[in-house]
Amino acid sequence: MQQENRAWFLRGVHDGVPIMLGYAAVSFTLGIAARNAGLTPFQAFLTSLLNNASAGEKAGFTVIQANEGYLAMAVMMLIVNARYLLMSCALSQKISPRTGLIPRLIIGFEVTDEIFGASMSVPGMLNPWYSYGLIALALPGWSLGTYFGVVMGNVLPARVVSALSVGLYGMFLAIIIPPARKDRRIAALVAASMAASCAAAYLLPGLSAGMRVIVLTVAISAAAAALCPLKEEDDAV
């Protein structure tokens, strides 16, 4: 068991490398936003260490900059980060029912788009140690990246930031494309979701990216569940 945990931890560390690099680049730009909102490097570091949420933190810095109050902050977080509620529900079905409270509290701490994606992509049940391996790289990448973003501002060339920012999307593709190849339902779902997302982004420019993700995820997943419910043998989740 111990050996198995160790192997899963190392696998998490391995898969965590692109996440860490992508996070370092993205959080660096987030640090610039934090500095504009008047946060010190330590305050920005602390925010990223505790939150691990790109859109959420960006929105939070906007609230701080405008000094809109704690209630406005709470409501903003609820809306921008609502998609994590869905991800957490899905993850609750991916871990063994026997998983204790502590692993659940740790996994829950770092439910991000990327870590959620990587966690759902492992075959069978999720071993919490895989998550720990991912977190061991992602969390320092994210929080230190934010810190250096505040300290060093625009020192990283725009070319490098531009290239690194795409790594996270490459990761998403590596997660959704292989199952789409095996299962035509998923391939159709991926194509429909991408098309709907483009349509929503161009037709409804006022809709924030966070809201777009929530609305489309609920609508399309519900439609797919109604049209194409899992059979009893589809117990892959």
């Binding site: 788009d113 994606g117 795409v166 790594g167 161009y202 569940a225 589809d234």
Partner: protein, 102 residues
């Protein structure tokens, strides 16, 4: 009134953590309902797809670089390359494309 920055940070943390941790700690059994099971099964694919497009095209300085990264990412993932390879290759495609077109 001037609110405290640490107060703001605490509110951010508290709300975000509760959103993330409540389902994981409260849902402790496999869900039997077929619709909800199907719904949760499809959620990751839809969420990740929605986040890839059009964002990948908007994240790069040159939209063409994002498109090429998307195409090469799909091709590499389709042929079974690892998460790490696909992610790094996407970055490389963008870097090289932008060297040429910008």
């Amino acid at each position: 009134m001037q609110y405290n920055i640490y107060g703001y940070i605490f509110v951010m943390f508290a709300v975000t953590y509760l959103i993330r941790v409540l389902p994981l700690t409260l849902i402790r059994r496999p869900i039997r309902n077929r619709f909800i099971r199907s719904f949760l099964y499809y959620v990751p694919y839809v969420t990740l797809s929605v986040m890839v497009l059009p964002d990948i095209v908007q994240a790069t300085s040159a939209p063409l670089a994002g498109l090429l990264a998307l195409a090469s990412g799909v091709a590499l993932a389709w042929s079974g390359k690892s998460l790490f390879t696909v992610a790094v290759a996407s970055c490389a495609v963008v870097f090289i494309t932008e060297l040429i077109v910008l």
